[in-house]
Symmetry: C2
Subunit: 271 residues, 2 copies
């Protein structure tokens, strides 16, 4: 067993990233499971460990997203998923913010209950093909026209991997709008501390009792560690070998895939 | 006369920004002259002052761009214009760089003599509607696939003003690609020192003998000052009142428009 595994003693909860860990998104069926991941999720569920899925996915409502994962064979339910859009809705309501949305069409229903008339802020998500020049320009004009421009970004990822290659993620367009208006965005979703904390609260475990498994060295691994959790990086999804020499973030361990991660964690539980 | 005008003694050359100073771009005829600007250009030409136009315009070849300005009534010739695309071509040839172009269709002819097979760098210009998600993603994939990613940006402006409102400029997409690939772009065009220096060389005047007139507080005014030139900001084009309280850049003077700037400069010459 890997030397780092002994640091996993006392783990009571597992937080799983979804895209690039459970499956690679894209293509006709909406994606393909990463070999061994369906069984690995089952193993966690039968182990007695708490489990939470924590995603920055904002291309669909949680309902549609979970339906897709179930169709691919995963044992997952809507109330097991922490996602940025519902978290953003809470913030919007608390602060009386009325968003102009630059998001994927399929996530718009998550904002059904939010007042969007006469916007006083912008919410940007992973809008994919909706990131046209026309739409980004329209969003920019709303933002620069506000006396106090508020930009809420559903994540700050650089890119993710779909079955047909790498795709630009929301963080890239967040940076574009930040520069255009000379402002700083507020990030909802990983790596924001509040986002991991709400996942931990849902599981009822303390940070030091939880481990994150993700493919993003900064947003999954770095974010979870900043929150006091352990974190493993899988060599699937957007993983690149140079991640293991990242100048700022060092995972507690690197594993080939989720199946290996779960095997190591479960072996440790039995020691 | 404005108190700052006395600092203009000894001026021998004038460098003019075009968009937002001579005319507002956009709309059916390609734009409308800013009142008084056509006459102001004529006045400079008959005064004996050297004159150079210095633009970050990359939505057309210099030829097409100058034709448009002539049609609008301006006395301007192609060899009086310093523009980023020809400057970039020199750099590409010097360094054996083969660009993947993310630019406006109408500026592509400027790169006709440049080898674009098997790209080893990216050149981004003000691509406007070509800034689709698909095109930006394709450009990102070229860049992140390079062992030593080189990104050349034709300017770093945030936005400019067309007749129908503000439009996002190339700098915004430069920042997006910088963030996506965790790299720094090389900027050709204002505010790069080399760019102002080549305009000065064309006029044969020293920096302290030259004055820049522009609507962009950072790229025109700040850039020219960094190069040792004087600089005025006009209250036309993308000018916003808060520019006069800019935290880092203070123009040598602020004038309502080019006509006023030229009147002040010419009066000073006669003193």
């Amino acid at each position: 067993m890997a030397g780092w595994a002994k640091h996993l003693a006392g783990i009571k909860g597992v937080v799983l990233d979804i895209s690039g860990v459970l499956y690679d998104s894209g293509g006709e069926g909406g994606g393909v499971p990463i070999p061994g991941s369906i069984e690995a999720v089952k193993k966690i569920k039968t182990s007695g460990l708490k489990l939470r899925f924590c995603t920055n996915e904002t291309q669909a409502t949680r309902e549609k997203f979970v339906e897709k994962l179930q169709r691919l064979g995963f044992d997952i339910a809507v109330n097991e998923v922490t996602a940025p859009a519902p978290a953003a809705c809470l913030i919007l309501k608390e602060r009386n913010l009325r968003p102009h949305l630059l998001v994927h069409d399929d996530v718009i229903p998550e904002f059904a209950d939010v007042d969007k008339a006469n916007p006083n802020c912008v919410v940007v998500g992973d809008a994919a093909d909706n990131f046209s020049y026309k739409n980004l320009n329209e969003t920019f004009r709303v933002l620069i026209g506000l006396e106090n421009p508020v930009l809420i970004s559903l994540g700050k990822g650089r890119y993710y991997k779909e079955t047909d290659g790498l795709k630009l993620d929301v963080g890239v367009y967040m940076k574009a709008l930040e520069y255009a208006c000379d402002i700083q965005a507020e990030v909802v979703g990983k790596p924001a501390k509040m986002f991991f904390q709400s996942a931990l609260r849902e599981m009822g475990v303390e940070p030091h009792q939880a481990i994150m498994i993700g493919d993003d060295i900064v947003n999954d691994v770095g974010g979870a560690q900043q929150c006091g959790m352990k974190a493993l990086q899988v060599r699937t999804g957007k993983y690149r070998p140079c991640d293991e020499q990242h100048p700022k973030v060092k995972a507690d361990g690197y594993v080939d895939n989720l199946a290996e991660a779960v095997d190591v964690i479960l072996k440790q539980l039995c020691e």
